[in-house]
């Protein structure tokens, strides 16, 4: 049996990395950062974690160092957010193409300008296509659990891809809440030692990341895409195993009170918890509403989503980022294309809420659902609208 403790969620993420017995942490310890790498630096300095802590000079270097250590066969971890993730942009694509199983916590925050350090999903949505597996946590326990899950999946020889575990900045990262921390033995049972499929070794030299001329680049991209799509099986399997050992169960798409619901909300991340309570309140009032929560963003859970929306008239997708000048929020656009051609598909409505730290409240969910019911009556299907805008 583990212990139940009060803990800041950032510290819980670091404790998960410690229990995973990481070998190397490379991070840039300055704003924007979190207590995740700060706590790991402490654990290493205090001798509680036998790992190499590499304090680099930028986020670009942080991920570069992670690629090096992962390629050398070390279990590798880092964390970043917002502008820091943006500075990693170039290297993100290299990490996935080189199939380095790095685990990175992304503490989701807005991108500047205007300068804003608060929570939304602009940082991660700008990195949608970088070839990493991307999961989203709704609370502190899930942050802890998904971190362990990430190591198990990334290092699976059928996968060998880097993973980002997303958690909402401040809303989760700075929250004190109860976390169940398992015994080291239980974690060992779930997470075997890292056995690299291939590694940089002076005695058995190989090259990683050479030039991909036009004759091979397409094939390399196809392989990566197929690998990411195929990772869904091992991802689900690792969640099933997790449930057996720890008793907490996860799925790529999770539903809440969707039975016979006419309107479905769709959310990602910590607002899903508020949305569940909003659904309870509205169901009390007789509103036919349910909730779909996307836990797995990459690879996109196409089949699971299509199954989850079955029977609903209207699907209201809540985005936490703007695809500026685009046809809708990034999640909404993808959901729309995922449902394209599905017989009797629900009407898809796009709402964008909670930008740059604007609170997403119970009331806002009720407003979005009421608006969706209005649109359904009118037979209207908009592309997107921003919620809670203060009109001057």
């Amino acid at each position: 049996m583990g212990v139940r403790v009060a803990m800041e969620v950032s510290i819980a993420a670091a404790e998960a990395a410690k229990l995973a017995d990481v070998d190397v942490i490379a991070a840039y310890p300055i704003t924007p950062q979190t207590h995740i790498v700060e706590h790991l630096a402490e654990l290493v300095a205090d001798g509680e974690l036998d790992a190499e802590y590499v304090p680099v000079e930028s986020e670009h270097s942080a991920l570069s160092a992670c690629i090096g250590s992962s390629a050398a066969g070390a279990r590798t971890f880092t964390a970043t957010c917002a502008q820091g993730l943006a500075l990693m942009h170039e290297i993100l694509f290299i990490a996935s193409a080189l199939r380095t199983p790095i685990v990175m916590m992304v503490v989701n925050r807005a991108l500047s300008a205007p300068i804003n350090i608060w929570n939304d999903h602009s940082d991660i949505m700008a990195e949608r296509d970088c070839g990493w597996i991307q999961t989203f946590a709704e609370n502190g326990q899930e942050v802890f659990d998904l971190t362990l899950h990430a190591f198990r999946v990334a290092e699976d020889h059928r996968v060998l891809l880097p993973i980002m575990v997303n958690l909402d900045g401040f809303i989760l990262s700075h929250m004190i809440e109860p976390i169940d921390i398992p015994e080291k033995e239980e974690v060992r049972r779930y997470l075997p030692e890292f056995k690299p499929a291939m590694r940089l070794d002076p005695d058995r030299p190989i090259s990683m990341g050479p030039v991909g001329i036009p004759e091979v680049y397409t094939e390399a991209k196809k392989q990566l895409d197929e690998a990411l799509v195929a990772s869904k099986g091992p991802i689900i399997q690792a969640w099933d195993e997790f449930g057996k050992i720890f008793g907490r169960h996860y799925k790529p798409v999770e539903t809440y009170r969707c039975e016979d619901a006419e309107v479905l909300l769709l959310t990602m991340g910590s607002i899903s918890e508020t949305a569940m309570t909003a659904v309870d309140i509205m169901r009390e009032k007789g509103v036919s509403v349910g909730l779909i929560r996307l836990r797995l963003w990459r690879p996109f859970p196409l089949d699971e989503l299509r199954a989850a929306v079955k029977g609903a008239d209207t699907l209201a997708v809540v985005d936490r980022a703007v695809s500026t000048g685009g046809p809708g929020g990034p999640v909404c656009s993808e959901v729309r294309s995922a449902l394209f051609g599905l017989p009797n598909r629900p009407k898809v409505l796009g709402f964008i809420a909670g930008l740059g730290g604007r609170d997403v409240t119970l009331e806002m969910f009720e407003e979005m659902v009421n608006q969706s019911i209005e649109y359904a009556k009118e037979g209207k299907e908009q592309f997107y609208e921003l919620v809670g805008v203060r009109e001057l």
Binding site: R4, A6, W118, F170, I176, P178, T274
Partner: protein
């Protein structure tokens, strides 16, 4: 569910007091959240922190808009912040003040029950600093039963280490001296 909003000034430890109450509640086997109002951190500026405590898992990630309890760490905040904003009908405001209930009611928009203590003096006497967060926790648990004094003291031990005893003395003195309006 009990929701608490703590008003302080940057540097007075409002966030730490939210953390301590949440930690104490979790140690009692309850569910809790303790979190700051996320803004630029400036010493002396008005800040808020929040706590939720419940017997079942808490599925809510918005700020606290309708608190059951408000704690005011600094008497000068009454001049600049509507501390009773959104307070529930049977709510309670716990204030660090040398004023009487009647004086406060006549000067500010507070109509609810109050608990009052001169926490600045107690903090100065015990800690040598006008940092009132742990002192006001003594007032909070005198006025409400959100968590018990033993679990609060254990949370303070863990959070403050060598300076925990002084903080617990301040807390205990405030617990004794707090006047709770019936």
């Amino acid at each position: 569910m009990i929701e608490i909003r703590i008003h302080g000034r940057g540097g007075q430890g409002a966030v730490t007091s939210a953390e301590i109450v949440a930690t104490a509640a979790i140690e009692e086997g309850k569910y809790a959240q303790g979190f700051p109002s996320f803004g630029p951190e400036r010493r002396g500026a008005p800040v808020t922190a929040f706590v939720r405590v419940d017997d079942k898992p808490i599925r809510l990630r918005e700020k606290v808009y309708h608190p059951d309890i408000v704690v005011v760490l600094d008497p000068t905040l009454l001049e600049v912040v509507d501390v009773a904003e959104g307070l529930k009908d049977n709510g309670m405001v716990v204030i660090n003040s040398t004023q009487s209930e009647d004086e406060i009611k006549s000067q500010y928009k507070i109509r609810s029950r109050m608990a009052l203590v001169d926490a600045t003096k107690i903090a100065l006497d015990n800690l040598g600093l006008p940092i009132t967060n742990t002192t006001m926790l003594g007032a909070l648990i005198k006025a409400t039963s959100v968590v018990n004094i033993d679990s609060i003291n254990r949370a303070i031990d863990r959070r403050f280490g060598p300076i925990a005893p002084k903080n617990k003395m301040a807390l205990e003195q405030a617990y004794k001296e707090t006047r709770v309006e019936q």
